[in-house]
């Protein structure tokens, strides 16, 4: 499938901001499930965009802007050709041993309830891949999906307790479950194309990957109860959301307590290609 993505990230300030810094993980790389045809980033203020590769192999951009300015918009736009690989990912940059992906982070720490849940969800299964599918199904069953992007990010155990969350909360819980089962797991941020009535919409999305010996890394999206297919664009990988968040930003000025930062994610269309 050929997908066009247009992602606009705008910040508005109640008072003119003096300066801002942003770190972006918004650029996909090629792998077995996708080929990037064109990609660009544009910042609507005078700045120098610098590109480096982060430790996990993500393409990272950063820039600083000098004020005063009342709004700041970063436009990410591009085109990707995607392929259905049944969720199996290969051809990615892998620098770390699997142990790193067994490590708990504050956002993906498990508690007794999560550990029990993970164990009972896959009790009947022996093979790792089947266990992972079972956990995904059970989690999908348990959690109410909430697509409100402005909702605050919570730790896995809190969201688990509420039985509701954003796709990224589900990814965190899934990672916590997998790691509790001693299966290396990680967080993926990207885009997904969704059929919404007659219209195809592209949304920012998050899911998990877990490691299966013999297959390699396999994607699991518990919010949609499926492994990623050609409607997914894989952008960044991290131990949790903090490591793979599309934008992390800070600024000085812009009003004392009256911060008015919003993340607008406007999407363009997706088209199927026959």
């Amino acid at each position: 499938m050929r997908m066009r993505v247009k992602h606009e990230i705008s910040y508005r300030y109640s008072e003119p901001a003096k300066a801002a810094v942003q770190k972006l993980l918004v650029t996909p790389r090629n792998c077995n499930s996708q080929r990037v045809i064109a990609w660009r980033i544009e910042v609507d203020r005078d700045s120098r965009l610098r590109q480096v590769e982060d430790a996990l192999g993500n393409i990272m951009h950063s820039f600083t802007v000098d004020g005063p300015f009342e709004s700041l918009t970063t436009l990410v736009e591009g085109e990707v050709e995607t392929f259905d690989t049944a969720g199996v990912v290969s051809g990615t940059i892998e620098r770390f041993p699997l142990e790193l992906f067994l490590r708990e982070t504050p956002l993906t720490a498990s508690n007794e309830q999560i550990r029990d849940f993970a164990k009972s969800a896959c009790a009947g299964e022996a093979a790792t891949l089947d266990r992972l599918h079972a956990v995904m199904a059970a989690l999908h069953e348990r959690m109410q999906l909430n697509r409100d992007a402005t909702q605050e990010i919570e730790c896995a155990d809190v969201a688990f307790d509420k039985q509701a969350g954003h796709p990224l909360d589900l990814a965190h819980i899934y990672i916590a479950c997998a790691r509790a089962l001693d299966i290396p797991a990680r967080y993926i941020s990207g885009y997904v194309a969704r059929q919404d009535g007659s219209e195809a919409r592209v949304e920012a999305h998050a899911w998990a990957e877990a490691f299966v010996a013999g297959l390699g890394w396999v994607g699991f999206d518990s919010s949609r109860k499926m492994s990623p297919d050609d409607s997914y664009v894989r952008v960044a990988v991290g131990l949790d959301h903090l490591g793979a968040a599309p934008v992390r930003a800070a600024r000085t000025g812009g009003g004392d307590e009256s911060m008015d930062i919003q993340l607008h994610v406007a999407m363009a269309r997706a088209q199927s290609q026959n």
């Binding site: 300066a19 810094v21 942003q22 770190k23 120098r48 610098r50 480096v52 982060d54 430790a55 996990l56 950063s62 600083t64 000098d66 620098r95 770390f96 041993p97 142990e99 790193l100 067994l102 490590r103 708990e104 982070t105 131990l239 903090l242 992390r248 930003a249 800070a250 000085t252």
Partner: protein, 478 residues
């Protein structure tokens, strides 16, 4: 592992005969009336209060600024004892630096199976962000504080490595100043190795590790979390002695991967940051997003090689209590030498056999949480209640990886001066080691921490421990 249970006193040995380094002090004490010491004690307290040397204690509302108890009697090491310690410390810190450069670089020690790789990669102090990047001059631990204990005339053990932001050096320096004012005669009698050049050495060390693209007179700052931090006094004291600005995160900003500080004359470029903030708080764009203590974009400047952080980000993986048990192996691996300073024998509870031994001997052992610090999260078996032991049994069974256990050593004691005369108290020693781009040095002595209550083994200042001046004196002739 058998340890002598006989109490070793650094002044009286085990037999009650005064040891040579303490001979002059002992004679002096015999001739000095008790009320002289009492009046000096009162003066010392006044001096410390005037200087404003205080220590904030977490969680105690009424005493948020407390004076650390200070004992008048010096702890004395002979030159011979010190030379061994010094060599051992230099060796250890060199190995710590090589270890870190290896962990964030090629990982030879993991490939050789000397250190289990999961211990490193699952450790939260290991920062994947640093993997594959080199720090300026490949130094990770510019300032190390190595905690040392002794059990008898000959044996010194490393209790703990501090490779993140070791504190206490201001007390070492202030203790000496106060002692020299109170007891000029005692100093005249002893040839005490000076420590007052520590700030100079520290400054030279920080200058030497400036990024290669910095100009010949690099701008150095000391980054503090602010005046409510427990060690703020030390931060401002050191900045003053070093003659560098004491900055908070909000005084710094990053533009195009270069760090600047806000001055009344406009932005000024910063080359070296002696940071007294934990990794987690350094840069809200990379680490904790809610941190207001750090500098947004700092890590970008660090990656670009435009600023040196001392100590390096991720250095904590080398001083973790679980990693600690492998440092002697690391010394052999990197330096091909036998470790001069021994570790305290340690059971790694992550290993099955060790765990079952520890569970069977909780009432004899000291159990420590691998990521705990300041004496919190620790069980001292012989002094623990039944309930405390049961609590640790449960913790250990649930998360054995989180713990190590050590025998309760018969730590040496030193006399302290109390109203009734002298009383023995347990002590440890934290010497400070400075690793520059080329040179490495240890200022003679260090900070002696002393448990002020009888029989207590906890010397941490956050739990009521006190300090002493530490003297390295020339050996008595003959």
């Amino acid at each position: 592992m058998e340890f002598s249970r006989v109490q070793f006193d650094e002044m009286k040995g085990t037999g009650g005969l005064t040891r040579p380094p303490y001979q002059k002090l002992s004679n002096w004490l015999a001739e000095t009336p008790q009320d002289f010491l009492s009046s000096r004690r009162a003066q010392a307290e006044l001096l410390f209060r005037r200087i404003g040397i205080t220590f904030a204690v977490y969680g105690s509302k009424e005493a948020t600024e407390r004076l650390i108890p200070f004992d008048l009697l010096p702890r004395i090491l002979s030159r011979t004892e010190w030379s061994v310690l010094e060599k051992g410390l230099v060796q250890r810190v060199r190995a710590l630096n090589l270890f870190l450069a290896d962990l964030y670089g090629p990982g030879e020690i993991l490939k050789a199976d000397v250190v289990p790789s999961e211990l490193v990669y699952r450790n939260p102090a290991y920062r994947p962000e640093m993997a594959g990047r080199r720090t300026p001059h490949d130094v990770y631990v510019q300032i190390a504080g190595i905690d040392i204990v002794r059990t008898d005339d000959e044996n010194f053990y490393v209790l703990e490595d501090n490779a993140r932001t070791p504190s206490g050096v201001s007390y070492m320096l202030e203790n000496r100043e106060v002692m020299m004012r109170l007891f000029p005669d005692l100093f005249a009698m002893h040839q005490v190795a000076p420590i007052e050049n520590y700030p100079d050495r520290l400054l030279a060390t920080l200058r030497s590790v400036a990024p290669r693209n910095a100009n010949h007179d690099p701008t150095i700052v000391l980054l503090t979390p602010g005046q409510y931090n427990s060690a703020f006094y030390e931060h401002s004291f050191l900045a003053d002695k070093l003659g560098v600005e004491l900055v908070e995160g909000r005084d710094l900003f990053v533009r195009d991967d270069v760090v600047y500080m806000r001055t009344t004359e406009g932005p000024r470029r910063v080359d070296v940051i002696y940071r007294r903030i934990d990794d987690d708080f350094l840069d809200p764009l990379v680490f904790r997003p809610d941190s207001a203590l750090g500098v947004a974009g700092l890590m970008g400047a660090y990656y670009a090689g435009n600023v040196t952080l001392a100590n390096a980000v991720g250095a904590g993986v080398a001083d973790d209590k679980a990693t600690y048990t492998y440092i002697p192996d690391a010394i052999r691996f990197y330096l091909g030498e036998e470790p001069i300073l021994k570790n305290v024998p340690t059971w790694r509870c992550r290993e099955k056999e060790a765990l079952s031994y520890v569970l069977g001997h909780l009432d004899e052992l000291v159990v420590k949480e691998v990521n705990g610090s300041g004496g919190y999260g620790m069980l001292v078996g012989p002094h623990a209640t039944r309930a405390q032991i049961e609590e640790f049994e449960k913790k250990l069974t649930e998360r054995p990886d989180n713990f190590i256990a050590q025998p309760t050593l018969a730590l040496s004691t030193c006399p302290i001066s109390v109203a009734q005369g002298l009383a023995p108290r347990h002590v440890d020693l934290r010497p400070f080691v400075l690793q520059g781009a080329k040179d490495i040095c240890v200022v003679p002595g260090g900070l002696t921490r002393v448990a002020m209550t009888e029989k207590s083994l906890v010397v941490n200042s956050s739990q009521g421990g006190g300090t002493k001046d530490t003297w390295v004196v020339d050996d008595a002739p003959g």
